[in-house]
């Protein structure tokens, strides 16, 4: 009988396991993204401060009035603080999205099925010790203990599946909209990091390389190497473009999950994008162009 039951349930179990796997993969990618974004926000803030400082220093010689200098510095600081607050608010919301992905992963990957199966088998054992009748009970050719032990994980998988689907249904619109906002955010962050880094690198190059070249006298010892470093740093900013597609692919994966389709964007590739985003963010923040101005 248990064999018949297993045969009947096999297609359901297979689709259940595949669907739980889809939830699990999507959740893992979402968790990685939720960890990566705060690092990107930190790089964006650092880039803004670098560019702003380089411009303040560059303009300082032309603005002699102390009050005017103080005013420029104060206004710049105010805007940087404003950005830091906005980024903090975005980080808080990203942590919340991260908690959602963690919750999905926890339920999809929970080993409650196996644990409950064992507990049920233990209970059947205990009952068998009390009653010889209970010990002799069978479902088909299997003992009650074995049948319960194997049946419970099936019930648990169905339970997890149903609850995950219910949560997905309840949150699909909000999570979908959040991911759309993240796509726009990463697009904006890409523009900001690229733009601010460009300003900071070029200001540094202007002072350390370009002016030295146009002025009379010997060039600094490392002039050639430093010129190459700064030009290459600027060229690498283009790499941001591709990595910043991560949120877009995450949205595609989410739509596929909601519609129970095979994900259009490979989740493995998506994870690679997210990892690249993190390493690029780390590298850019480690390659601060210098004082500039």
């Amino acid at each position: 009988m248990l064999g018949c039951l297993a045969l009947v349930l096999l297609p359901f179990l297979t689709s259940c396991a595949a669907r739980l796997g889809q939830f699990s993969q999507f959740a893992a990618t979402g968790q990685t993204y939720a960890v990566a974004l705060p690092a990107v926000l930190d790089v964006a803030l650092q880039s803004t401060i670098d560019a702003n400082s380089s411009e303040l220093i560059a303009g300082r010689d032309n603005i002699r009035d102390r009050k005017e200098r103080a005013d420029e510095l104060g206004k710049s600081d105010d805007e940087i603080r404003r950005r830091a607050r906005a980024f903090q608010a975005i980080k808080t919301q990203t942590h919340l999205l991260g908690a959602y992905f963690t919750g999905i992963a926890a339920l999809a990957e929970s080993d409650a099925g196996a644990g409950l199966g064992k507990s049920t088998a233990d209970a059947a054992d205990a009952l068998a010790r009390i009653s010889q009748d209970a010990a002799a009970l069978q479902i088909g050719t299997a003992s009650v203990k074995d049948a319960l032990g194997e049946g419970v994980p099936i019930v648990v998988a169905a339970f997890k599946h149903a609850r995950l689907e219910a949560v997905l249904k309840g949150t699909a619109e909000s999570v979908g909209r959040s991911l759309d906002i993240h796509i726009a955010l990463l697009d904006r962050l890409g523009e900001v990091i690229r733009g601010e880094q460009e300003v900071a690198i070029r200001n540094t190059k202007l002072v350390e390389i370009d002016r030295k070249y146009t002025e009379d006298g010997a060039l600094p010892k490392r002039w050639k190497e430093r010129r190459a470093e700064l030009l290459l740093q600027e060229a690498r900013l283009g790499e941001l473009e591709e990595a910043l597609q991560a949120a877009q692919k995450l949205k595609l994966a989410f739509v596929a999950l909601v519609e129970n389709q095979k994900p259009t964007a490979s989740l493995t590739l998506l994870l690679q994008d997210v990892q690249r985003l993190i390493s690029l963010a780390e590298r850019i923040s480690g390659e601060s162009p210098g004082e500039g101005g």
């Binding site: 411009e55 805007e79 940087i80 010790r129």
Partner: protein, 120 residues
């Protein structure tokens, strides 16, 4: 921010960014240094104003993003609570079955409930 304003803001931002970058060009820098001091000062102010305007446009955008994300938070929080509930339900089911097993193990032999026929 309405889409049209958003587009306009991005266009203005791009132009202001070009102004910022112009100041980092050695040809512009050399030409500027040949101008009278008053003009150099005006140029420095214009540079600062452009940089500040870019920061303000970006900040308006980031604040809007934070507000929009916050608006989606209640539904996501409800989803997290539902996931927690499901995990709690599983844990509770296991706790109940574990308790039944240990009760049968302890109480059964203690009360001499061994070898009794099942009531079904």
């Amino acid at each position: 921010m309405p889409v049209e304003n958003e587009k306009l803001a991005r266009r203005v931002r791009r132009n202001l960014q070009e102004v910022r970058l112009a100041f980092t060009d050695i040809r512009f820098d050399t030409a500027l240094s040949a101008l009278p001091e008053t003009l150099q000062r005006r140029a420095a102010r214009a540079r600062f104003a452009a940089a500040l305007a870019v920061q303000r446009i970006d900040n308006d955008g980031f604040e809007a993003v934070a507000r929009q994300l916050a608006a989606e938070a209640p539904a996501i929080q409800a989803g997290i609570a539902a996931l927690d509930d499901a995990l709690d339900d599983l844990a509770q089911a296991r706790a109940i079955i574990d308790a039944v097993a240990s009760t049968l193990n302890l109480v059964g032999p203690a009360l001499g409930l061994v070898g009794i026929p099942l009531p079904f």
